[in-house]
Amino acid sequence: MTTDVVRVSVPRAGGGHDLRAVKVVLHRELLRFANDRTRIVSSLVQPVLWLFVMGTGLGTLVRGSVPGVDFRTFMYPGMISMTVIMTAMFSAGSIVWDREFGFLREMLVAPVSRGAIVVGKCLGGAVVATLQGVIILALAGLVGVPYSPGLILTLLGEMFLAAFTITAFGVTLAARMRTMQSFFGVMQMAIMPMMFLSGAMFPLAGLPSWLHVLTTVNPLTYAVDPMRRAVFGHIDVPPQVDAMLNPGVSWFGHRLPVVLELGLVAAVGAVLLAVAVAQFRRTD
């Protein structure tokens, strides 16, 4: 052979290299998402059904007890969370898919830290879920939520944080799963109760104490509440209705500030991320 060979030499591991790995894993998530229109549409069906069918139906039932506010406005932040959570879990589940179809191996034999791959995956899931949430954000006007830039930015930030934590949770689950079936089984088992207990579907005020305890220990509660507070801060609601629909989360009689709630979500996300990285560091 007379042709010149382009010879590349691969650098030693370092921060810059790990950053490239994070970016490319994230980039792949976005490519996969953009190429999969079925997924984009199908993951919208559930929240839209909840919002416009259940929301309208329940709304007529409770109209008398919550005057001055559309029940769908109450459900709206819950449905944003639901969309974000579902999309984030699906992204995390693609790790199981990658394992089944071998691509995970390609990532795990590369000379990069496992941490870079897991962080890239979690960021990818978070970005994709946020993008999916943007579609629900666009529906705000239909349920009486104003398109205020401040509100949109706040919701985007809160969506991203929730999505990152949920993806980290999903990756932790996916780390040991061998088949998509088992992952989705476990995911349903974990996500449904967390959704029900998060305040996404019904207000958390005046619950029986056992239910109240469960909602307080559910990390998702702290992701949903800041979004609801943001939405209710931008609409006019009579005070007694606000107290009923937007009670916040209280510890020992004190209502938690939004910053603390978001801090909790971030802390849970960081712990889950560390667990996920540790699981992928283990080899046989």
Partner: protein, 331 residues
């Protein structure tokens, strides 16, 4: 280009490498060295320990005992250094079918930190080599099994590894693609400064290797060039057709001290080096010879003589599984 550790010594050096899974000893302490630039084949039936050994050398499995250096780096203590210097092509596909061929390669280049200004040229080169440059924008899921394997080989070479590991690179492929892949491997050893370490259970493919190691039940049975291995088994078989078979056999005994018999209608006998014997035969037999054929012992004979079974018998259950698995993944 800076000097690399691999230039200083063996491309792969293995000492007492062992791996046990629970009570099963998959690899029972193997020793061998592979020289830089060599095409080295690991030959054995399925379940002999080939894949386990290759997994340890690629840092995918931690050895239970022993050490190994790949491209001059320890597989346990310098895992990332080993990974930077090796390319891998596995038995099962590890491509993302939803991405295009180019996107798969770009992903790999980023993951391996290939300098950005070189990615384009290098990618073109490896894709040209396997004849997939025109298909770079095609989604991998639309590719045939052979194209996928070729793409994996291209990807394994993208970061200019010192050692390319190929685990059963031709399993489940049609004969045409198999020979194409051997063509690339042949080209590679000329165009790139690379060592190739492969496993196979096809005897005919082992012939392409500079040296082969036969592994059976987790142990290295023998290691040598295919020629030397075949020579070690014994003699070549010579068959001649003559004008007078009876007289030819008598003369063979008298003049060359060779015992012959009639097999398949021809005078058949065994000598240590058939090619060298034939000219002497023509000069000295004194009976007209109409045709002659010399056959070497095959690697099947070699395998048989070292392990006591043919490779097909040893793995008769295994190939079926592998085929099923290839089918299941082909969707």
């Amino acid at each position: 280009m800076s000097a690399r550790a691999g230039d200083l010594g063996a491309a792969v050096a293995v000492r007492g490498l062992r791996k046990t899974y629970g009570k099963v000893e998959a690899v029972k302490g193997v020793d061998f060295e592979v020289a830089p630039g060599e095409v080295f084949g690991f030959l054995g039936p399925n379940g002999a320990g080939k894949t386990t050994t290759i997994s340890m050398l690629c840092t995918l499995a931690t050895p239970t005992g022993g050490t190994a250096l790949v491209a001059g780096h320890d597989i346990v203590t310098e895992r990332d250094a080993v990974r930077r210097n090796i390319g891998l092509v596995f038995q099962d596909p590890t491509l993302d079918g939803y991405l295009t061929a180019e996107q798969n390669l770009r992903f790999h280049a980023e993951l391996y930190g290939v300098p950005k200004d070189l990615v384009g040229d290098r990618m073109r080169q490896v894709l040209d080599m396997v004849g997939l440059w025109d298909r770079r924008d095609g989604k991998v899921m639309t590719f045939s099994g052979g194209m996928k394997r070729r793409l994996e080989i291209a990807r394994g070479l993208l970061h200019s590894p010192r050692v390319l590991f190929l685990d059963e690179p031709t399993v489940g492929l049609d004969p045409q693609t198999r020979s194409a892949i051997w063509g690339y491997i042949g080209k590679l050893r000329h165009s790139e400064d690379i060592t190739i370490f492969m496993t196979t259970h096809y005897m005919d493919e082992a012939e392409y290797c500079d040296r082969i190691a036969i592994i059976d039940h987790g142990e290295l049975v023998v290691i040598d060039s295919p020629e030397a291995l075949k020579a070690s088994v014994g003699k070549d078989r010579v068959q001649i057709q003559t004008g007078d078979d009876e007289r030819a056999m008598v003369l063979l005994r008298e003049r060359f001290g060779v015992e012959a018999a009639v097999r398949e209608g021809q005078v058949t006998f065994a000598v240590p080096s058939g090619e060298e014997f034939v000219p002497k035969l023509f000069a000295g037999l004194g009976v007209p010879i109409r045709s002659v054929s010399v056959s070497r012992p095959s690697l099947d004979d070699v395998f048989m003589s070292y392990t006591g079974s043919t490779i097909r018998d040893a793995e008769s259950s295994g190939t079926g599984n592998q085929w099923m698995r290839a089918m299941a993944r082909g969707r």
